[in-house]
């Protein structure tokens, strides 16, 4: 009997080995293969990071202190590289590096200089940290020479603004990065070095700098968030769509904390709040006068005395303007049917167009223009949006296919051409659906600028890689907005958002004029039209101090002139960081405007210099300036200890991954079982026979012997 068991055990062992051997082979393969971008790994032992954000809201601005604690629980000296998102309009102006109870303050430096100083300090074995802007909303922290077992706390301070739409204030604090891909490349696990961070034409860092390793480990990236809203008035509601929150109130100061002390950083945090009915802000002018900090003076003094004044203007048109019934509109749809739109893009475009046409009311008029090498209009002149005309348009749009060149200029001319009888009380909107693959942008912008008239241009970017700069700039020149649709299933939502806005324009041809004070430098230079629920926002700067003045905001509402006066009262502010909110906001707006011009200007060096100067003067991180903090003391002896560079993985955004399907039915396993049992049966049978023979008895006799 022992014999049989041994055989069976051997068989089982053999099978197990067979399987194990294959696993080992697979493991080997695993380690050596170059991986694609789809799969990713947990990166090797890196310092842990935990973050904490304290957001203070006052008026339309927020001030955030973001603390990143890097804890090195490895046995090596580490350099941590951590990519993190910030709000789109974050002006980072503060860096503190805390080691034990010592705090080293960061200073703003030109990006290249800061990077060199950081590298030098790193090599020398000094603790140093560097904050760089990789994209408008993506930053990196480098911290060098974290000793084994040590923690370094980095605090970053930034200002951003609150969003206001339809009576609701909101702030969005991004917590993770949607992974970006370069096809065919594995999300790298090696640390990027200065050499690998290639920059593209617009000066932004290459893909590597913005593709941190990702993790789905639940406990990997945790954060705490606290918000303080200094409302000054009772608030009606405070909600978060993304997290459960606990709100406490003391003297109209609201404190919001997360119900869970720490949360995984796999989704952004949003908070919305509403003032009580009838207490929505109507208009506000904040102003401040600032004397340049001595440190900034050597760069460029704002004027002889170094004094500047700033104002931030916000105006919300009275609610009764919003209640105006839907105004009849003329909508011209333009669809790009050039070769680059082939496949999915043209399908998206057709769907977007049909959606837009469907939403028109009978009192609206419309026309459709398609263009490739030439531009063709559906109707000779715009027609009423009757059921019949709409159905003609659907059929026409359905039959459009993509091929040929991209002559946007022709289509633009046709779209902007309208007869003189056009009723100026009507609103004329051009919805331009394209992937924007054009080369003669300048010419098109000039044409739009000269011939826009009463029309407004809304660009809808289609396809996986539309020319966003073209979309944005064309819409800006055309005093409209741009919408980006990257997936077929997004078409409905995005178009709904766009069209519900287009149906309710409130104020057009908005101008801001100043009485009693000089004409300031102002951003945006052209105020876009106002749609339901939106405020007018502008930021201005004067050289020197300003006295009392009056601001007039005027525009056209339903064909009639509308205007409102606001008082400008100068206010002296202190020189602390928080006291310079308006200056920083202005600097941000100006840099944004310069960055836009960088795309079209042929003097990029000059603009780069201008941006650098502004960023240095106002002390904010930009694409050309970084914050750097270096400790004087040398902590690591480079001749004794090496330094390991480790990237901190970011949490994979929730809902962004797919499960692996199961891959086997177990047919082989069942056959193997069948075989195993057959073998056992045969062995058992043979053994029985053998025993019978060796005892010289028949099985029955044998049996009798045993039992008798």
């Amino acid at each position: 009997m022992k014999n049989h068991l041994a055989s069976a055990t051997t068989l089982c062992l053999l099978l197990t080995c067979l399987f194990a051997h294959h696993s080992a082979l697979a493991q080997h393969f695993n380690d050596n293969e170059v991986f694609s971008g789809i799969l990713f790994f947990d990166s090797e032992a890196a310092p842990l990071v935990s973050t904490e954000a304290t957001i203070n809201v006052a008026g339309m601005l927020t001030r955030t202190r973001l603390t990143q604690t890097f804890e090195n629980n490895t046995t090596q000296w580490q350099e941590a590289i951590y990519a993190f998102p910030l709000p789109d309009d974050a002006s980072v102006d503060l860096l503190e590096m805390k080691i034990g109870d010592r705090t080293i303050n960061g200073t703003i430096k030109p990006k290249k200089q800061a990077a060199q100083e950081y590298e030098t300090a790193k090599r020398q074995g000094k603790r140093a940290s560097l904050i760089k802007q990789q994209r408008k909303n993506l930053f990196t922290t480098n911290v060098s020479n974290i000793a084994p077992g040590e923690s370094i706390v980095i605090t970053i301070g930034f200002q951003s603004s609150v969003h206001y739409d339809e009576g609701v204030f909101s702030l969005n604090f991004p917590l993770t990065i949607t992974p970006r891909y370069l096809p065919g490349q594995r999300l790298h696990s090696n640390a990027p070095t200065e050499e690998t961070l290639t920059t593209n034409a617009t000066g932004w860092a290459g893909m590597q700098a913005i593709s941190p390793p990702m993790t789905t480990a639940v406990n990997a990236a945790q954060t705490r968030i606290a918000v303080v809203i200094n409302a000054g008035i009772p608030l009606q509601t405070i909600d978060s769509d993304t997290h459960s929150i606990i709100t406490t109130q003391d003297n109209n100061v609201w404190r919001i904390e997360l119900a869970d002390t720490t949360v995984p950083m796999d989704r952004d945090f949003t908070l919305t709040w509403t003032p009580p009915l009838g207490q929505s802000p109507h208009a506000a002018v904040f102003s401040e006068t600032r004397t340049a900090l001595p440190a900034a003076l050597h760069n460029r003094s704002p004027d002889q005395s170094g004094t500047e004044s700033f104002a931030s203007i916000m105006l919300l048109p009275p609610q009764d303007l919003f209640k105006a019934s839907r105004l009849p509109r003329e909508v011209i749809f333009v669809i790009d049917t050039s070769g680059s739109m082939q496949g999915n893009s043209i399908r998206q475009a057709r769907k977007a167009l049909s959606f837009g046409i469907k939403r028109l009311s009978p009192e609206d008029t419309f026309n459709v223009i398609e263009f490739d090498n030439t531009a063709n209009a559906l109707f000779a002149i715009a027609r009423q949006a009757t059921a019949l005309n709409k159905s003609t348009a659907f059929d026409w749009v359905d039959g459009l296919y993509a091929d040929g060149g991209t002559e946007i200029a022709e289509a633009m001319k046709l779209a902007l051409k309208h007869d003189n009888q056009f009723n100026t009380r009507r609103i004329r909107q051009i919805v331009f659906v394209t992937d924007g693959s054009v080369g003669n942008e300048d010419e098109i912008f000039r044409y739009i600028n000269q011939h826009l008239g009463h029309s407004r241009l809304f660009t809808v970017g289609i396809g996986s890689a539309p020319n966003i700069w073209f979309m944005r700039k064309a819409a800006e020149t055309g005093r409209g907005s741009y919408t980006l649709i990257s997936h077929l299933h997004d078409v409905q939502d995005k178009m709904l958002q766009l069209f519900s806005k287009l149906e309710r324009p409130v104020l057009t041809d908005i101008k801001i004029s100043f009485n009693g004070v000089a004409e300031p430098e102002r951003y945006p230079a052209t105020i876009p039209d106002l749609y339901a629920g939106e405020p007018v926002l502008a930021d201005a700067r004067w050289q020197g101090a300003i006295g009392k003045g009056e601001i007039t905001i005027s525009g056209t509402h339903a064909g009639q002139a509308w205007s409102r006066q606001l008082q400008l009262l100068p206010r002296k502010t202190d020189q602390t960081t928080t006291g310079q909110q308006l200056a920083k906001r202005f600097a941000y707006r100006k840099i944004e405007s310069l960055e836009d011009s960088l795309l079209f200007d042929n003097q990029p060096d000059k603009i780069e210099q201008q941006i650098t100067d502004i960023a240095l003067t106002y002390g904010i991180v930009s694409n050309y300036t970084s914050l750097i903090a270096i400790e004087d003391k040398i902590s690591r002896d480079p001749s004794l200890h090496g330094l390991n560079a480790a990237e901190i993985p970011s949490a994979m955004p929730a809902g962004n991954t797919m499960a692996f399907p199961k891959g086997s039915l177990g047919i082989a396993w069942r056959w193997m079982l069948a075989l195993l049992f057959s073998v056992l049966a045969v062995l058992f049978g043979l053994a029985t026979l053998y025993q019978v023979r060796s005892h010289g008895h028949s099985p029955d006799q044998f049996n009798n012997q045993v039992y008798t």
Partner: protein
């Protein structure tokens, strides 16, 4: 021979037969269902892409046809990758982009039935996928990887048209439900 010995022997033989029958049943199910699935697909194509169930009580529909000359593979893809779908044919993982659409399309099947020959596919081979609108989309194999389903994840967010064919690895392992997956990645080249 004693009765107890006979019982043991009989039991062993029965077990062997049961296991063999089970294996044969699974194989037969996987093979025979393909005929019904093919019929449902033809019906779909002739009815402007209206989805059809391969048999009245099926909890899935046919969403694509998959053809890989290099692996001698010509089969149909069911919606979803639950065990009940995969028993009958390759399944499209939920959240996948439709064939030819921008995004990631993930198709899984068992290594011991429909994807038993996936190993024959090499880089640069062509994978063809037909959508319900009768259009064929061609994908070129760009990578072949082994992934570990315990630590690796498939990231759904993609800006281009890609296809993943996934099955268990190693191909001739005896035990089912191993953690490793064989992944064939392909990029769309045309429709």
């Amino acid at each position: 021979m004693s009765k107890s010995r006979l019982w043991i022997l009989g039991g062993l033989i029965m077990m062997a037969i049961a296991a063999a029958a089970d294996a044969s049943y699974l194989m037969a199910k996987a093979t025979l269902a393909q005929h019904l699935i093919a019929r449902a697909w033809d019906k779909s194509l002739n009815n402007y892409g209206e989805p059809y169930k391969p048999w009245p009580w099926a909890d899935t529909v046919v969403v694509a046809r998959l053809s890989v000359a290099a692996a001698d593979l010509d089969t149909w893809v069911l919606d979803g990758s639950s065990g009940t779908s995969l028993a009958f044919g390759p399944g499209m993982v939920s959240g996948s982009a439709a064939p030819g659409e921008t995004g990631l399309t993930v198709i899984g099947a068992h290594r011991d039935t429909h994807f038993n020959n996936l190993e024959a596919i090499a880089v640069n081979d062509i994978i063809r996928l037909q959508d319900t609108g009768k259009r064929w989309h061609e994908y070129r194999v760009s990578h072949i990887d082994i992934a570990d389903s315990r630590t690796d994840k498939i990231v759904a967010d993609h800006t281009e048209s890609r296809l993943l064919l996934i099955t268990c690895y190693p191909f001739n392992a005896i035990l089912p439900d191993g953690p490793l997956r064989y992944v064939v990645e392909a990029q769309r080249i045309s429709s």
